[in-house]
């Protein structure tokens, strides 16, 4: 029997972007308020899972052709490199830097290296979650 999932597929296409942008919002909110790379990564992964439910693993694989294991490695390298950066500046490991900048459109903005570290965490979380889900999902 062919299941009729037109509504699910149609909704998923739109809701995916809503969830994804919400994840981006949570990611940037993370420094001073609840949120951050970990939660952002989980929310992003849930958006991709929604696509997998609506379509199937193969389709999603062709939409987002990423090797999630490499994504984990890239995330670890970004996070590790951010932490190790301060070693070259003669400061203890994990020392972060921040300053205020005047950016066009955004105005006065605080830029913090912790955000780079969080980006690494974000990629690791997305990579690990998706690897787990794919591994389980591939089994017939």
């Amino acid at each position: 029997m062919k299941t009729n999932d037109v509504i699910l597929q149609f909704t998923a296409k739109i809701v995916f972007f809503m969830i994804f942008f919400y994840a981006v919002h949570i990611f940037f909110a993370g420094h001073y308020t609840p949120g951050g790379g970990f939660v952002g990564g989980l929310v992003t992964a849930s958006a991709i899972v929604l696509l997998i439910i609506a379509f199937d693993i193969k389709t999603v694989q062709s939409i987002i052709p990423i090797n999630y294991i490499y994504l984990v490695a890239v995330g670890l390298i970004i996070a590790g490199a951010t932490a190790a950066f301060s070693m070259f500046m003669g400061k203890p490991f994990f020392t972060h830097y921040f300053d205020y900048f005047y950016l066009p459109l955004l105005g006065k903005t605080s830029l913090h290296t912790a955000a780079l570290f969080d980006l690494g965490v974000y990629l690791v979380v997305v990579g690990v979650t998706m690897t787990i889900i794919q591994t389980i999902g591939e089994d017939e």
Binding site: Y70, V72, G80, A84, M87, K91, P92, F93, F94
Partner: protein, 496 residues
């Protein structure tokens, strides 16, 4: 403040991340792994030298002041253990080129090894009790991968048990740390030491001490908690077994050593007496196991349990000589266990069986293997001038000094059982009539596996003969353990 002490931890970490790429290209995997280990060994050796000259090195992450940030402390104890870990990993990885199997090499074996080393070195170096938990988890995660890698039936069965036991003990670890935090209100190990000294270790701290003994004892395989070890360790292939046998239990031993010399030193009559009794029972239980088995892997695995007992016996004496002996014996045991596992791996390779009863007569066909096995076996039992001798001598001397005459004699007697258990392998496998021989022996592969094994046995001989040169380092390590103030001063006053 000195970032240099982090290099032996983060070099394996970064190389591990780069090894995740290009899984299918063996040359890339092997070369990068060896390169990373050599770099880390060079850093670790210069770290030992620096610690020897300038005393303990510390760095507190993120430029926080000392008791609030996570401090990494490299004193002589941790610097020596870190160096030993890296050297052993180098030889084990080299040995594994021919024996681990191409399927495993193509499926995250090398990143697993690198991450396990990151965890082990981090656990040896950290000066924060919660961070110790984190590094335990890092090494456990990597060990879950390595124990199940290959997916043989025995591996799947044993890895379930292994994971269950470790998840349980990790949970208990967090609970214990929470208890400790609720009493002393700090996580920095130096600060905990000072706070406990201030409040004179009331009963609740002693309870926490016993809980820590349970947590670390499960990792270190002391008497009632070693039940999971013999079967779990026999499942993975020899290089992984060598890595586990040489490193993982020793992390638990180190953690007991650290907490029982730095924190819980005000109620020796209870805590250290308990440790003494448990270590003696551990030795006896290990001896029984080592004599009862006819499986070569099991015999050496039970020898791990014996060695854990011996080292903790030295710690329980709580005097300079006993602790120096424990340090000597700890490093010795890491080297010799790796060497022995590699040797019996060769025996298994040429005979195709792990059952002693089926072996025999290898002396005629593989004389070099026989002699090197004999040297390693004597070294394990502590025949002078080989590596086990000095450690055991000092431990027993410490035992006499602390007035534990009978238990020290028992420890000496256990050396005979150790000797007997490993000589049984020699007698059964190398003497007598020709036994079972594997028909898949490739002389070239054998030689490539034998070479690193030989070098490691040479290192263990050097370690025994060169005791004179190592003594200043070990004295330094024992002094740190016996006098917590050196450690706490280095953390609280050093840098920043």
């Amino acid at each position: 403040m000195n970032n240099f002490l982090l290099l032996p931890i983060i070099i394996p970490f970064f190389f591990g991340m780069f090894l995740i790429f290009n899984q299918k290209r063996l040359a890339y995997q092997r070369i990068i792994t060896m390169l990373g280990l050599i770099l880390a060994i060079i850093c670790a050796l210069s770290l030992v030298y620096k610690v020897y000259l300038d005393g303990p090195q510390t760095v507190t992450f993120g430029s926080w002041p000392a008791p609030f940030g996570i401090t990494m402390v490299s004193d002589m104890v941790s610097a020596l253990l870190v160096t030993t870990t890296l050297v052993l990993a180098f030889f084990i990885v080299w040995y594994g080129f021919e024996s681990i199997g191409k399927e495993r090499e193509r499926f995250f074996y090398y990143p697993g090894v690198m991450f396990i080393i990151t965890g082990v070195n981090g656990a040896f170096t950290t000066g924060d009790i919660f961070n110790l938990f984190v590094f335990f988890e890092v090494l456990l995660m990597a060990s879950y991968l390595l124990i199940v890698l290959g997916g043989e039936k025995a591996q799947l069965r044993e890895s379930i048990k292994y994971i269950l036991v470790n998840v349980l003990s990790s949970a208990l670890f967090v609970i214990t740390v929470a208890f400790l935090y609720s009493v002393v209100g700090t996580l920095s190990m130096a600060d905990i030491s000072l706070k406990i000294a201030e409040i004179k270790q009331p009963g609740i701290i002693t309870v926490i001490a016993v809980m820590f003994l349970m947590v670390f004892g499960m990792k270190a395989a002391i008497f009632p908690l070693y039940f999971w070890l013999p079967s779990a360790y026999s499942a993975p292939p020899i290089p992984v077994l060598a890595l586990f046998g040489a490193l993982l239990t020793k992390v638990g031993v180190y953690a007991i050593m650290r907490t029982y010399t730095l924190f819980f030193t005000h109620d020796l009559a209870y805590t250290h007496e308990l440790l003494l009794i448990l270590s003696i029972i551990t030795i006896i239980a290990g001896c029984i196991g080592a004599l009862a088995h006819f499986d070569v892997k099991q015999i050496i695995i039970y020898n791990i349990v014996i060695a854990v007992g011996v080292i903790l016996f030295g710690v329980a004496q709580m005097n300079q000589i006993g602790l120096e002996g424990a340090m000597f014996y700890l490093v010795h045991d890491m080297i010799i266990k790796a060497a022995l596992f590699m040797l019996i791996g060769l025996v298994i390779y040429v005979t195709g069986t792990t059952n002693l009863r089926k072996m025999g007569g290898l002396m005629k066909t593989y004389p070099a293997l026989g002699w090197f096995y004999l040297i390693a076996a004597f070294g394990l039992a502590g025949v002078p001038p080989l590596s086990g001798f000095v450690g055991k001598l000092l431990i027993v001397q410490g035992g006499f000094q602390a007035g534990n005459i009978w238990t020290s004699l028992l420890l000496l007697a256990s050396s005979l059982v150790v000797l007997l258990s490993v000589m049984r392998i020699f007698i059964y496998a190398f003497w007598g009539e020709q036994g079972q021989v594997s028909n898949q022996v490739n002389k070239k592969v054998y030689n490539r596996m034998f070479f690193p094994t030989m070098l490691l046995v040479f290192i263990s001989i050097l370690y025994g003969v060169g005791t004179e040169w190592l003594t200043p380092l070990m004295e330094d390590a024992a002094k740190i353990l016996i006098e917590p103030s050196i450690y706490t001063d280095a953390v609280m006053k050093g840098g920043n």
